[in-house]
Subunit: 385 residues, 4 copies
Amino acid sequence: MARMEKIRIGMVGGGEGAFIGAVHRHAAALDGQYELVCGAFSRDAGNNQRTGDSLSLDAARVYASWETLLEKELKLPEQERMEVLVIVTPNHLHVPISIAAMEAGFHVFCEKPAALNLAEAKSLKSHLDNNNVLYGLAHTYIGYPMVWQARQMVLNGQLGNVRKVYVEYPQGWLTASEETSNKQASWRTDPSQSGGSGCMGDIGTHAFGLLEFILSQKVTHLCADLNTVVEGRRLDDDGAALIRTEKGASGVLIASQVCAGEENALKIRVYGDKGGLEWQQMEPNSVIYRPLGEPYRVYRAGGGQPGLYDEAAARCRTPGGHPEGYLEAMANLYTAFAKAVRAKQTGTAEGVPGLTSGIRGMAFIDAMLSSSKSETKWQAIPDTE
Amino acid sequence: MARMEKIRIGMVGGGEGAFIGAVHRHAAALDGQYELVCGAFSRDAGNNQRTGDSLSLDAARVYASWETLLEKELKLPEQERMEVLVIVTPNHLHVPISIAAMEAGFHVFCEKPAALNLAEAKSLKSHLDNNNVLYGLAHTYIGYPMVWQARQMVLNGQLGNVRKVYVEYPQGWLTASEETSNKQASWRTDPSQSGGSGCMGDIGTHAFGLLEFILSQKVTHLCADLNTVVEGRRLDDDGAALIRTEKGASGVLIASQVCAGEENALKIRVYGDKGGLEWQQMEPNSVIYRPLGEPYRVYRAGGGQPGLYDEAAARCRTPGGHPEGYLEAMANLYTAFAKAVRAKQTGTAEGVPGLTSGIRGMAFIDAMLSSSKSETKWQAIPDTE
Amino acid sequence: MARMEKIRIGMVGGGEGAFIGAVHRHAAALDGQYELVCGAFSRDAGNNQRTGDSLSLDAARVYASWETLLEKELKLPEQERMEVLVIVTPNHLHVPISIAAMEAGFHVFCEKPAALNLAEAKSLKSHLDNNNVLYGLAHTYIGYPMVWQARQMVLNGQLGNVRKVYVEYPQGWLTASEETSNKQASWRTDPSQSGGSGCMGDIGTHAFGLLEFILSQKVTHLCADLNTVVEGRRLDDDGAALIRTEKGASGVLIASQVCAGEENALKIRVYGDKGGLEWQQMEPNSVIYRPLGEPYRVYRAGGGQPGLYDEAAARCRTPGGHPEGYLEAMANLYTAFAKAVRAKQTGTAEGVPGLTSGIRGMAFIDAMLSSSKSETKWQAIPDTE
Amino acid sequence: MARMEKIRIGMVGGGEGAFIGAVHRHAAALDGQYELVCGAFSRDAGNNQRTGDSLSLDAARVYASWETLLEKELKLPEQERMEVLVIVTPNHLHVPISIAAMEAGFHVFCEKPAALNLAEAKSLKSHLDNNNVLYGLAHTYIGYPMVWQARQMVLNGQLGNVRKVYVEYPQGWLTASEETSNKQASWRTDPSQSGGSGCMGDIGTHAFGLLEFILSQKVTHLCADLNTVVEGRRLDDDGAALIRTEKGASGVLIASQVCAGEENALKIRVYGDKGGLEWQQMEPNSVIYRPLGEPYRVYRAGGGQPGLYDEAAARCRTPGGHPEGYLEAMANLYTAFAKAVRAKQTGTAEGVPGLTSGIRGMAFIDAMLSSSKSETKWQAIPDTE
């Protein structure tokens, strides 16, 4: 075995005061697979420089804009040059930067959503196909080991034929209006930066993506009710939908940001004719399994834990009893992405949500917005593959 | 204070092999307010007699039919005669027996549902109004102390303006088809005995009643999806609805009997602009309160427990730390009913769901059935008061 | 089958303001096996009469003292006369009343502790042996279905050889001194009424009895540290002990009444070489089972629940998902006692802690008091059978 | 602000197949403060080289032994040279390597325990004092934000005068004998590599350190019972102790590795005259607070969460609802250590357990071993500061 070189990453966005940029840096660092070599962290020059300094970056590689970053990095020798660009800007920049980066031959790892809407997401496809690069999307919850456990339980028939699915994502941080609440709220509730949906784009897509991932089947129809609960807000901050899947299951999807006191209480339950399962993001190291006619049992994350599928066990760093969390989940995406980079794969990295997931999420949002305005009950979600 | 005489009750239904009859007897006995004096427990003479014997009844007051029971009891001296008739038969007999009992001057305490449908429920009203009797309905969950705590929290503004409500009642006992599952399943899934709805009539009404009780406001519109998941079953065994309330809250109601492995996981969450609350039937002695901007706290049932409203505290028999459960919840209904009997009230007993609740439940079922068949999204629930 | 006559009980103690008397009445009533026919509830005549009236008793059978009660009941015709005397007085009266009642030929069902100390408890033995009566002791926690489940799990080898046991009973109600806290505190912390130990007599015995019951083996040695945490209190309000059992297991027993904020958090964990189990009184309807090398699983109380031993299932009144609690646990003792009364058994009623348990509890308290004063580490508990 | 240079670390131990070395590397990487520049990972040359390669190390700085590592690094220019040595070898090498590293002028960050026994731990002191270096000890649990929250709650009087403390650390991984269980078991149960105690050295010290940290006071006396439960094992695999603290609190400490099915269920409860608290390692993001006479409440980890002390909030990387875990706890120690390195502090890094903690842990083990062999009840723990 030869020495493993670290993969060189750059970052757009994620200056002081941003939340998700730091999360990506922690996650990329955790497994020692990456080295941050450059960034364009903020349009504010001082912020940009301070961020670069705090990250031990060479000042010459802290760029004033993402355009400059791409231009200058391209001119560096290949063995120094950034290989992967991490995009953690507000949503409306995801697509322009992704396209430019891919066209310049860089892999892209993008914070979700992939785009502002379905059309924009689809526009990424040709750029990805034509440039021999990888595209990864930070649907972080897909990085949790026990989400993989749940998926494998379904795939291996532990539930039998799936009939019911309930997925919910209640948050409370937008209970009060933007003036009095978190600064993060401002751009997330601004249509020009965030897209056509607020709550559904921000967290509804997580719930939807988790559901389709664990079920390994598509939602085909939904009947939605979106609300703007807080007066003066310009986008939906709440919603729910009845859903139906391609193989005949039905269920409910809930996402809300006005559930006072709730943190990130993402939870999914799936029931088939042989059993049910339950997973919660805030206690992510357990999956409850309810086999029909037996006492319920609990699978626990961790190396050497009984009953884990390989897909789950491989995503644990520590033996049972050492709780891993959100950063480790995202790190699992980064590490899977690194593996694909090293293997010189293109398109989608195995184990990492890619453009297909991004397009799917946009189709979901479009359908939710359309359904919510309609007086007809059921709305089809277009089949995007 | 004079000696408190026990109230004399009779029972129709509840022979060997029935579940809910025994529950009513336990509940009626618990607080020492009632004496069971007669019954018509089963159309099977042997079952009927054995049940009467096991309950220490005088054989002369174990009657072959409910008609005989009413006729014979009426002929007894007033101070011996049954005062309250408890009805625990299959659903289709609830109304005929209720009417006959009220017309004979007996108070009625009826297992839910009040009737098979809205029209039948409404037909009870004139009989109740004209006979100076009480009518109580065993919406048992309304008997839990912490359900009253939740209601008072809403009424006292601890949540502010209510915006969201989620109520769910997943069960698993009908996951397999009737042939292989519980005997209880047979009549509950038979339209002629159970009414037009299976799951919604059986447990959806509980979820709905709990929701309107805790909110102290009405659901005005719903958008339902009912399913018959298990092949060959004649009634819905599953469903969900988007809902809207009279004061502008929205939410979701879920009821299902095919959620493999679930017991009676009735749960309600309510969120306002000042906080949220959560209560679960299977851990009924806690209410979680999430005041906006403060750590969440937990109210606990029991005498002397901090933060309880009188309405909750008065429904606890023991100090904190002694779990009370389902039988105590129903006993709270029976004891409130006894108080009303002694006070010679008529119509509805304070603290006990009455005919208004019964009619409301039927309006809900009718609206659910109608909505589920419709291609239009929203269905109004008629205002029944 | 002949008609089942109710068993006639009388009660000493349990007037207005008492806690445990009402608990016994609820429990005795729950299953319809008993009829309360007489009582001497309080030395305060007004309280006594009001209590009797509220319980629908014939005024002639509300007696001024327990001596009068025994004397007058004996003169009644056998088919009217009380059969079982329930003793719910302060502790120091348990033995005198028990002896008098047994000598008069009445069965005794006594609130714990059986006596003030070991010698007094042993003095009961000859009276029990000589009078063809039953003696039951309200070690209420032994009435929980899932305590029986745990015991059967041990007996059936699901844990293998038992090595470790931890039992704890933290309460908080004596955190503040008697002047400012619960009225119940006054007699419980008065040595003349309560015996030589406060906390250990009140709740330590529960922990100890539960431990020996679930293990089906005896604790042989202990090393105790008792404390009087609150200044001015005359008895221990806290303590803990290292323990060893006859078959070589070791562990810890904790009981305290100064754990601020705790209710009745009785909990037991047992570990063998094949697995472990855990049960908690405040969520009494579950037993966690941790089989070595498998995901842990949870047995749940209720009719028809998977994995329950007959001994547990027989103590549930309702199907899974209907929580039963403390009153049902005590009712299980009463109902088992009723069965033994009807079967004309003497001595101990199957399924009900009897005098042997009472003596055992006193031996435990004596050993704890002795050990706590000693500078030697280990103290033997005398083998009391 | 100038560019933040990464701190250069080396590692001894932690080759393929080791558990804790990888944990240290994840933790050191997480916040981007360190760069791993050299190592001596294994005495097996192949393992050593493969580990270095997988960590992207320059082959020239993967050394055959820790002695070579120190010798060669010292010869490198100061701006390239390792600054901190991380020691993750078996226990018996902790002291020799620590001394050599400190004498060579390197900071030391050592996996616990600091030494094999009290005398050896004390021998470190002069080397630390004389060399202007820092010494950090990986008592990882001290890195959890909510452990700091608990400590601050005590310090700020939220509990009043502390009276009781229960700390327990049940594990199950040594339930079966070494032949059939985890490979990790072999050296941990070998006295020559592990020291005089097995379970107490391995996890008892964690429980003890956590207790003294949260209480901000010392345990002065204990009464211990240590056991070797599994036949043939050479060190204790289980134990418990009654304890007393310097300010008059009492309690219990439990540590066991034969509790079948338990993972790392470290838990602490503290009670004072104004309230109690509870924290569990396996759900580390909550602290339960039970203020006397109020509903209990739950503090939750995360940026912006209500009620957090600065000491807790500063140790969270993400907003509420994003679970952080064990690696983040250790990363908090690493990051605090980095801050002290940059500030050119010596001795102990603020917020990181140091030699004082290490000596304290050894005093605890010595006292436990001594007490367990004694027939006298109480054993004093020497005051080590």
